[in-house]
Amino acid sequence: MSTASLGHVEAVVRITAQACVDNEKYFGELDSVVGDGDFGYSMARGFELVIQDWDGFDRADIGTFLKKIAVVITSRIGGTSGPIWGTAMLRAASTAGAVTSLEPAQIVAMLRAGIEGIKARGRSDVGDKTLLDALVPAVDTIEQQIAAGADTAATLRAAAGTARENAEATRAMQAMRGRASYTGERSIGTLDAGAVAVAVILEALADQWPDLPARS
């Protein structure tokens, strides 16, 4: 993986936002099985705002840009997802700081900080059948790919594969956190909506990365 510019960070946010808008119905259906069906709607309404206000976000540096996005997410997405995704973004933004480019190691540190934010906010961990069950192994893969010297496209493709595999694996798990946990053992056999969302987003990133114009 090579050094990431603000342009790369912008691309990641933009693709993520578009994936959440495009998958509103799908994410909603996933959350309907043992949840309350609002996950797709909440994410779509929040990331819609990100797209709508796109040109207005302060792009002084990567940390500032991500922080502005995080504020929209945290303050405008309801449900559990707003605080979870917003906290993750905020922690990542702080970890990045006032820089205009990121080394691979910094990117991993940002992702790890985001994960710690989710765990703290959600009083949750890997194994609880949440998005963490896709996100944490995917970040492990990213770290491994970087260590192995893979390029960005290959790194994303590998991370997407890990996320999808682990999202599928949530089927076997019993939910210990979030609304799905109320159904107890009945949650076994269903996919976690948040974990699938992580896979979908990473797949979108992997798919669209090679086509991106070079950025400054």
Binding site: D38, S75, G82, Y182
Partner: protein
């Protein structure tokens, strides 16, 4: 989808506008934060009592804002906890020198939004107390779980706290009262049908013609068990047994009994349930001092019911009996 709706995304705002138009002398609508507030709030001599949760539970909570009840409610979208922003801005708008009380139903999303909103509001110098409501006996409560949900029993907490705050009680006193009411309140619900969120446009889950869902939540989450459809009395027996044995309620207890409709069940059926529940409690020697039959905390258009019992002492009884005025009224 058989609903009165224009744009599903405007479902909540249009409802809130309607509430404000119907109550111009008493309520105000602040569109930016889905906020319905008393027109005379905040008041310097009164703690501001705020509740926010997902929408779709009406009359809870936007239609129970008013004298002796809530000072404001800032709901999220249908079944989605309010964004943190709403909590923060609502708290600022409702800021009183006597402080602010957040009443939160115990759900992950609601807790997070209020936790974050409170942190940020406190950084701005606001004084905020937090009351968690978790009356749902359908959910196992242990250190390994997210704890019980807050459901229809929140009405009793709000009623008691609202009355006390109207009488000038300070924040600590309200916390004491709210925690006491919550600690003696238990609810169990069940569904005959699913509900249909306007943005989804189809039922959240499917129930066979001969099935019912016991221990259902108020967000269309499935319950703990799917059972064969039973008659009204058998359903009441099962709900009462769960509620009574949990606290437990005992012979000689004075209680308030609520038979709550989940949105799609007509009031005629609720009175059938009430009549039998009343008789069964009387047989157990439990004294029904107050009763509540109707819709208090719904799940959109779900056909179903929940039964709530709250144990009364003279303090709670007095607070439940104090006058109150809200959007929900017959006359």
């Amino acid at each position: 989808m058989k609903k009165f709706v224009n744009d599903p995304q405007q479902f909540v705002p249009e409802m809130l506008k309607g509430i404000a138009l119907a109550n111009p002398d008493t309520l105000k609508y602040v569109p930016e934060y889905n906020l319905i507030m008393r027109i005379d709030a905040p008041r310097a001599d009164k703690v501001s009592v705020i509740q926010g949760s997902g929408s779709g539970h009406e009359p809870a909570h936007v239609m129970i804002v008013g004298k002796g009840m809530l000072d404001a409610a800032c709901p999220g979208d249908v079944f989605a906890a309010p964004p943190m922003d709403y909590v923060l801005e609502t708290s600022k708008l409702l800021n009183s020198p006597k402080g602010i009380l957040h009443i939160i139903n115990n759900y992950t999303g609601d807790r997070m939004a209020f936790e974050m909103g409170k942190e940020m509001a406190e950084a701005d110098g606001l004084t905020i107390g937090t009351l968690l409501v978790d009356d749902d006996v359908a959910v196992k409560d242990s250190t390994y779980t997210v704890g019980r949900r807050g459901v229809a029993g929140n009405f009793f907490v709000i009623k008691a706290v609202g009355a006390a705050s109207e009488q000038g009680a300070d924040l600590d006193e309200l916390l004491r009262i709210g925690e006491k009411v919550n600690s003696v309140t238990r609810t169990m619900g069940m569904a005959l049908t699913s509900c249909t969120p306007p943005a989804k446009g189809s039922p959240l889950f499917e129930l066979g013609d001969d099935e019912m869902e016991m221990g259902v939540g108020i967000h269309g989450e499935p319950g703990r068990r799917r059972e064969k459809l039973a008659n009204a009395n058998a359903i009441v027996d099962e709900l009462l047994e769960a509620v009574v044995t949990d606290l437990p309620f005992s012979k000689g207890d004075d209680v308030a009994l609520m038979v709550n409709g989940l949105g799609g069940t007509p009031i005629s059926e609720l009175y059938i349930l009430y009549g039998y529940a009343h008789e069964q409690l009387a047989k157990r020697g439990i004294n029904i001092r107050r009763n509540y039959v109707g819709e208090y905390c719904t799940s959109l258009d779900m056909a179903g019911t929940s039964i709530t019992l709250s144990r009364l002492d003279s303090e709670i009884d007095g607070l439940l009996g104090a006058p109150a005025e809200i959007a929900i009224r017959t006359f």
